[in-house]
Amino acid sequence: MKYDILKTTEESLSIEVIAGKINSSRSKNITKKGVRLFEENKIYTTSFVGDISDSDLLKKAQGAKTVGIPYNYELPSFQKMSVIDEESLSAPLSKIADEIEKTQERLRAFSNQFVFNGKFNREIHSTTLTNHDGVTFEKKFAVNEWHYIFKKVGSPNLMDGYFQGRPRILALSDLDDVFNKNIPYLESYNNEIKFQNGKYPVLLLDGELTSKLSESFLADKYCEGSALYSGKLGQKIFSKDFSLYDVNYSPEHGVYRTFDEEGVVRKMAKLSLIENGEMKNVIADLRNAKKYGVEATGNGRRSFDSATTMKFNSLVVGAGKRSTQEILKSLDNCIVVFMGHGGDFTDKGDYSTPLQLSYLVQKGEIIGRLPQLTVNTTTNDMFNSRLIEIASDGFQKDHQQPSIFTEMDVSVN
């Protein structure tokens, strides 16, 4: 009998802070398991939340074979692999509480003007994928995440802004970096300035500029012709300064996906999707690789209880030469966007989003907070004729995505 068992364990401590004070803490330690039986070219799946032995789960699965998903691809041969980030795991879960005190010290000066509500979470993720031969892929790492939502006292808004950190280890330097980058903007919050509609360089720190484009790299959408850039492989579609990669291993940014949940191992950590403006590759899981005659790229994603779908490991734009701060200092005007929620693309690739929180920066100097704006551009333009520059780094040290500066039409709401 051929099978594989995917087991995930999440152990976490999450602490909620309201108006600078701890309100609650939540502990979780839950194991989830899913088995896939491969019989006569059909896949039968069964899942369980809680403790159950592999043999009991297999028995359960044998008794529940009702609907099988047809498959006609070769199963990958598993090879023992272990990815364990010991450094990230070294601190106890309770260590996350130390971060709260440090952040409170930095925010104290603003407590009369703003209400800061936040959440601090430390999770230990453990995943194993074991097949019928007893060969196991294993990964274990810790994730630390914290954020503060801030609201001006008396504001009718749900939130006026936020900032967050996602450090691999709980180091003071990472926390300092988040505050050093964000506090100058918070200090300028009360200085709302007037704005003239027009075309401006925009740095969108909150928004998915690549979301419409990314559909074109899914093997099924690309090959069926239902994506915006179907049929463009090998062609130059964007500026030579624009490259895009699927990255599957980057511990600094919490990416540990050297094997996918089908057991496919991709040797290269960085798969080129666009190189210097030319479309290079699409991604595929085993099913779609077989169906469309492309290579399986280690992008088969599933949870313990779901079927495999193609997903990016981590979609990252190729870095440029100058840092984010250097580019900001070189631009006469730049709109730096901290909140641009709710925007979207039309099926043609037209993009628009309201900007709930943005600032005007001139030659690196924060001039003031801008009123509520709307920006417009298109997928074609934003990485092509209107692309200004891509930075060598992100706005914050823990941002994996380099800053993208692109021109947009900007108008006051």
Binding site: S27, K28, V49, S226, A307, G342, D350
Partner: protein
């Protein structure tokens, strides 16, 4: 496993803490997906788990567990954790005993009783439609259902159980003609499986209309007079004012109750907004919340005047108001927080055609992809049309519809006579880490004098 019996044998009054409650959930869900005519996913998912809350020494301590037969030990572990930390005074006023309410009544019609094979056969019956839709490049046939039972008990004596049963069916398609793409999705919500039969004509008619969007122009960004369909009115209500009515956003802000003074006029006189969990057979059904507070009809706005907000027992405590039955958790892994149930604008009396006549040169919005609320609300529409000569005219492509909540509430000029409460089994409401939570929203078609369209 008899979950009620587990709680019956658990004496919560004996624990040495300020307050404790336990919620056990048994969820049985299933789904299938056909992509481009092939079955790519089909599974049943059983889950049983419990969430424990302890309030002690001035703080909340939570734990989620699948060890539902070992809850006493879990509670003791949390109390030990509370005793080991800082000790502050308990400011949380424990809720009243709201009585015992056992409301499980949907088991006979539970979707979990229908074999997965039967469900998948339903999907297969719609496969021939793929060849009948013009310009089709990609298709998906989707099904999801859930049957959930909740059991609750608190140290003040409140007990409840109820069940929730819903399913959704969808047919998605990407159309392509002359290089132009249109992505659209037909969806239905049911609480009776038989109602998913014989949808062929509805699906084909839906995609005949989608064809009109091939080649549609993109809107020139600007401010437009708009008419919103009941579905869009619903998402507007949810995103624009519903989220702002959730009282947890006021926590820690000493000025909030002054700025949000009950009795203030904040909307047009024709505007009344309600939230209530009492509507059975909708995705907003929540007869009793996850703290044991019974659902009621809460007017958030009545005739343009601010009349209420949504509370958990904690926010009601802090703001010295009454709990409203809106403390809800996404599942057994999370604590209840303030959430909406069914949120809607009450129906008016103006015929739909009259709304169109009064919106000459404006835009009509029919359905949507997603919405968001915050300082501005946003709606990403799917289908939008120009309004000409008092009628719906040619389709137009729009990325996003947005505006300031308070300005827009005052710009509602008329409410139609076509009230509809919209439910969905796909997706739901997201708040923080808890997404999706089933909710319903709706209203009549409404005429708004100005919204930002881009």
């Amino acid at each position: 496993m008899d979950l009620k019996s587990i709680l019956d044998h658990l004496d919560l009054k004996k624990f040495a803490c300020h307050f404790v409650d336990v919620r056990i959930e048994r969820t049985q869900s299933s789904h299938f997906t056909f992509r481009n005519g092939e079955l790519v996913s089909a599974a049943e998912k059983p889950v049983v788990g419990a969430f424990i809350r302890v309030h002690h020494h001035g703080l909340w301590f939570y734990a989620s567990t699948t060890a539902v037969t070992n809850l006493e030990a879990e509670i003791n572990k949390i109390i030990d954790q509370a005793n080991a930390g800082k000790k502050s005074s308990n400011t949380y006023v424990v809720p009243e005993n709201n009585g015992i309410h056992h409301l499980i009544n949907k088991a006979a019609d539970a979707f979990s009783k229908i074999p997965l094979e039967t469900k998948v056969k339903l999907g297969e019956s719609y496969l021939p439609l793929i060849k009948k839709i013009d310009n089709l490049k990609e298709s998906g046939i989707h099904y999801t259902d859930i049957y959930k039972e909740k059991f609750y008990k608190s140290s003040v004596g409140t007990e409840f159980s109820y069940d929730f049963n819903q399913a959704g069916f969808g047919f998605s398609a990407v159309l392509k003609k002359d290089g132009d793409l249109v992505d659209d999705w037909f969806r239905v919500y049911v609480t009776d499986f038989k109602k998913l039969d014989n949808l062929e004509k509805d699906i084909l008619d839906f995609f005949i209309e989608s064809q009109r969007f091939l080649g549609a122009e993109t809107i020139t960004p600007g401010k437009y007079k708009v008419v919103l369909s009941p579905e869009i009115t619903g998402v507007f209500t949810h995103e624009s004012f519903g989220h702002k009515s959730e009282a947890d956003f006021m926590m820690g802000d000493p000025e909030a109750t002054k700025e949000w003074k009950i009795g203030s006029t904040i909307g047009a006189a024709c505007l009344s907004i309600v939230d209530t969990g009492v509507h059975d057979n909708t995705s907003g059904y929540c007869p009793i919340d996850d703290e044991g507070t019974l659902a009621k009809k809460t007017y958030l706005i009545k005739d343009g005047v601010l009349t209420g907000r949504l509370h958990s027992t904690h926010t009601a405590n802090v703001l010295e108001e009454k709990a409203t039955g809106n403390a809800r958790a996404m599942n057994f892994e999370f604590e209840p927080i303030v959430r909406m149930t069914s949120t809607y604008i009450e129906g008016g009396s103006v015929p739909f055609n009259e709304l169109l006549k009064r919106a000459e040169g404006g835009i009509y919005f029919y359905n949507f992809k997603h919405g968001s609320g915050g300082s501005t609300f946003t709606i990403a529409p799917n289908r939008a049309y120009r309004i000409k000569d008092g009628k719906i005219a040619e389709p137009v492509r729009v990325s996003v519809l947005s505006g300031s909540v308070f300005e827009t509430l005052k710009m509602i000029e008329a409410c139609g006579d076509d009230f509809h409460l919209e439910s969905s089994a796909f997706g739901g409401c997201g708040k923080g880490e808890q997404s999706p939570l089933p909710v319903a929203d709706g209203g009549p078609s409404i005429l708004v004098s100005e919204m930002q369209v881009s």
